[in-house]
């Protein structure tokens, strides 16, 4: 609480002082950015993680790029098309040079696709993307690559838009150490790595032969400042020009500050509840007198009642300070494969009570809602709010939150034989590919280790009908057809089954000195290329 009190005082003081030093840092083309997260490595194939990918995107390029709304656009590949049912052809750009001056060609792509899945130390490799669906790469000539799969594979370009291309000249046995010290960190991206001191600073300089649009800043310094109030203070003090992850409590006041400008945008991250739909007796769930009851969450009416009992507007207004958008499905508006029919469930306590009675729980029951307290924006407060709302319709809910390091072990799903310890959880999901097939596969599809389905299906939702529609979608190369099928699968899994209860989409906020603008990105990344002084 000290934290918030001091910020209130501090921000007020800053506004009073009003004579903030407007730093001249921008004049010489240098920008300093304070980030709440830090990469674990510069090696783009070491760890498939937001903070790493965001730094990698400065230094490396991809065959297919994702724009600020995660739509695909040409990158190192100038065009791509399906030449038959199972073969995709990528035509590469001919004018691209790596930071060390060597030319980019198909050999670099072949090398990257061999390296990315085989990184021995990878903390989360890109194999799922580089070889998912059984991809086989073939070099046709220096600037043409063909990728074949045993079955039609529509997500080809999407998959390849996650993999950063490295130079084949770094050699076979070069791993993260050589990247971290800068020797092998040779890409084709808009910035060159100058140096990285872990926990202290990451310096980049503009690459003048970059093949795309040249970024405005010639020198970029990225400083990790994890503590949110300190990050904000650094911006107010003029030590940094730009910060990410502005805490929601401060946004209203910062908007009034004449020396700052804010940038906001919805993310691809949906916050949702998962309920146990598998076990006969749900853990931590009993009748009101404490006696054992059969799992009430198995009844779709109970799940719908819970969804109706949650006042999403109130949560967004009070807990999120207005900085979130209520959710009725897996991705917010504007994304591919979204359903037009699914709307956020309206708050309806009477309707929820009625559904509970129909399901045989006129007096409700007792349960515990678990959630992390340091993973998503205001996560613990959301859990508390929901517990109160559910208690109001008769489901006595105890909120219980814990650090993510403890939480995710206990909420882990290892299949029907080893279900999670919890039966009712709050989690979030960000869709890195920008379309709903990844959450459908991981959160709602029936657990299937061989196919890699249901790995985060913490409620063990299972519906063969939805699985069939999803599989059909994953085999449809035609975009319109696939979009319709994905929407249909979402309508079954989220709409009919209430397999998960979506709450809201997170909205991210960036703050900058007056005069700087940032194009908010749905993938939550902070890119120096997106900051402009115009």
């Amino acid at each position: 609480m000290y934290l918030r009190k001091s910020l209130k005082l501090g921000v007020a003081a800053a506004v009073l002082a009003a004579v903030m030093p407007l730093s001249a840092a921008n004049a010489d083309g240098k920008i300093t950015i304070g980030l709440g997260s830090e990469p674990t490595s510069i090696d783009p194939h070491f760890h498939n993680l937001g903070p790493n990918n965001q730094i990698a995107q400065h230094i490396f390029s991809r065959l297919v790029e994702q724009d600020e709304k995660q739509r695909l656009s040409p990158g190192l590949a100038e065009s791509w098309k399906a030449i038959n049912e199972t073969t995709w052809e990528f035509k590469l750009r001919k004018d691209v040079k790596f930071h060390d001056g060597s030319a980019f060609n198909a050999d670099d792509v072949m090398f990257t696709m061999k390296r990315a899945p085989a990184h021995p130390n990878a903390r989360s490799s890109f194999k799922l993307y580089s070889h998912g669906g059984g991809k086989v790469y073939k070099k046709i000539d220096d600037y043409t690559i063909q990728v074949t799969t045993p079955r039609p594979y529509p997500l080809m370009a999407t998959d390849l838009s996650t993999i950063h291309i490295v130079s084949n000249e770094i050699g076979d046995e070069t791993w993260e150490g050589e990247f971290n010290n800068g020797k092998a960190a040779i890409g084709t991206g808009p910035y060159k790595l100058v140096r990285w001191i872990k926990g202290e600073v990451l310096q980049l300089s503009r690459y003048d032969d970059y093949h795309g649009e040249k970024p405005e800043w010639s020198v970029v310094e990225i400083k990790p400042i994890k503590s949110a109030p300190s990050r904000l203070a650094a911006l107010l003090a003029g030590d940094v020009d730009f910060i990410d992850s502005v805490p929601t409590v401060d946004i209203a006041r910062l908007k009034k500050d004449p020396n700052l400008s804010l940038s906001q945008g919805v993310s691809n991250r949906v916050i949702y509840l998962h309920l146990d739909q598998h076990r006969d007796v749900a853990p931590y769930t009993t009748a009101k007198d404490g006696s054992e009851i059969k799992n009430p969450f198995k009844d779709v009416r109970v799940r719908r009642a819970i969804s109706k009992a949650i006042n999403r507007d109130l949560i967004i207004d009070r807990v999120m300070e207005g900085v979130a958008i209520k959710a009725g499905q897996l991705l917010p508006e504007g994304f591919f494969g979204r359903s037009d029919k699914l709307m956020p469930e309206e708050y309806d306590a009477a309707g929820a009570k009625k559904l509970l009675s129909e399901a045989g729980y006129p007096d409700g029951f007792k349960t515990t809602l678990f959630g992390p307290n340091d993973r998503y924006i205001n996560d613990a407060k959301i859990v508390e709010a929901i517990a109160q709302m559910l208690s109001r319709i008769g489901i006595d809910t105890t909120p219980e939150t814990m650090p993510k390091s403890v939480y995710f072990k206990r909420a882990k799903n290892r299949g029907p034989e080893k279900p999670p310890e919890f039966g009712f959880v709050l989690v979030g999901w960000g869709s890195g590919t920008g379309e709903p097939s990844s959450p459908l596969k991981s959160l709602l599809a029936t657990y299937n280790k061989d196919k890699g389905y249901g790995s985060s299906n913490r409620g063990l939702h299972a519906n063969p009908k939805m699985d069939a529609v999803l599989e059909e979608a994953l085999a449809s190369v035609d975009d319109d057809k696939r979009a319709k099928l994905l929407a249909k699968a979402t309508e079954i899994g989220v709409g009919e089954d209430v397999g998960i209860i979506p709450l809201h989409y997170q909205v991210n906020t960036w703050a900058a000195k007056k005069g700087l603008t940032y194009v908010a990105r749905t993938d939550e990344r902070t890119l120096a290329m997106g900051i402009s002084s115009k």
Binding site: E176, K223, A233, S405, F408
Partner: protein
């Protein structure tokens, strides 16, 4: 004295060993590092590969056996998060923390001792009462809050000092140190002062209590009667006798400054070991946690040894020997 030191070092080896067992066992109970690490979208196969690559598929006693074998050869394992040797990552952060702790300790001595002596010599004066009330404030205000207020006042409002981070460094004795550059000094001032606040109060109170007690002793009266100058009585006769508790406490506190400057380092984004350990705990980076705690045990052992030796210099009555029972 040599026997004493050797015996001390042998005892420390046992302490370090027991410590490694407790810590290793402890961190293995909490959480699942793989769940923390892998991308949400990773499928079951990928998760299993990561578990295997970090050696977590084996039972804990085999992991521990492997750890001890490697540790005896100076390898404390690779960080889960960074993939690089844990020891190397910690050692890289060490200079930043040591210099912060050192500057902070220096500040608490420079500020604390004169104020404490003053308050002890003239307990009835208003200035002394002010110093004593100030020391209560120093004790009781939380570091986190004071740190943020310092940033707000000196960096945001006045713009005198930088708000966060570490300044330019120069290489001295093979270490990257920042307190030899003007930029580095301006960066270290606020965090060091923040960290020194508690210890300064402690030193003031200890010194004052020591002075109040010693000032009525016969040897002080005798020294005055001998006609020694007031200055010499205070600086030599008095100071020497009140230093023992101060040195003990500062010695232990120095260890504390190194090991637990977590809050200050986090608030000021100071790239030291404290920030590293708190992040490693949050991310369940077990090898870093284990290596860090073992290093800290060693630091404490060494500091205690130095304190014992300092005793014998300050007070000739103290002999370095083990208590035989």
């Amino acid at each position: 004295m040599t026997v004493f030191i050797i015996r001390r070092l042998m005892q420390s080896a046992i302490v370090v060993f027991v410590m490694s067992f407790l810590v290793f066992g402890g961190v293995n109970i909490v959480g699942d590092p793989v769940e923390m690490m892998v991308s949400d979208e990773a499928d079951q196969e990928e998760r299993e590969r990561v578990i295997k690559s970090m050696g977590l598929d084996k039972p804990w006693y085999i992991q521990y056996g492997k750890f001890v074998t490697n540790a005896l050869q100076g390898d404390l394992g690779n960080s889960f998060v960074y993939g690089e040797p844990a020891l190397q990552i910690i050692v890289q952060r060490m200079p930043a923390t040591f210099e912060l702790a050192f500057v902070s300790l220096l500040m608490s001595i420079i500020i604390g001792i004169p104020f404490g002596v003053w308050a002890g010599l003239f307990p009835e004066r208003f200035s002394s009462k002010l110093i004593m009330s100030g020391s209560i404030v120093g004790f009781s205000l939380p570091t986190f809050w004071v740190g943020l207020m310092m940033i707000m006042v000196f960096a945001v409002m006045l713009g005198w000092l930088p708000s966060t981070g570490r300044g330019d460094t120069v290489i001295v004795f093979g270490m990257e140190l920042s307190f030899f550059t003007p930029d580095g000094l301006s960066h270290i001032f606020l965090p060091a002062l923040n960290l020194a606040l508690f210890n300064t109060s402690l030193v003031i109170r200890l010194t004052r209590a020591g002075v109040r007690e010693a000032i009525h002793m016969d040897y002080i009266k005798f020294a005055r009667a001998k006609g020694l100058s007031y200055r010499r009585v205070i600086m030599v006769h008095l100071m020497k006798n009140i230093m023992i508790p101060v040195v003990t406490v500062l010695g232990l506190e120095f260890g504390g400054l190194i090991a637990f400057s977590v809050v200050t380092e986090t608030v000021f984004a100071w790239p030291g070991m404290g920030k590293l350990i708190i992040e490693s705990i949050q991310n369940l980076d077990r090898p870093i946690i284990v290596a860090y705690l073992m290093i800290i045990v060693l630091v404490f052992v060494v500091i205690n040894l130095v304190v014992d030796i300092l005793y014998s210099i300050l007070d000739p009555r103290v002999r370095l020997q083990d208590v035989s029972s």
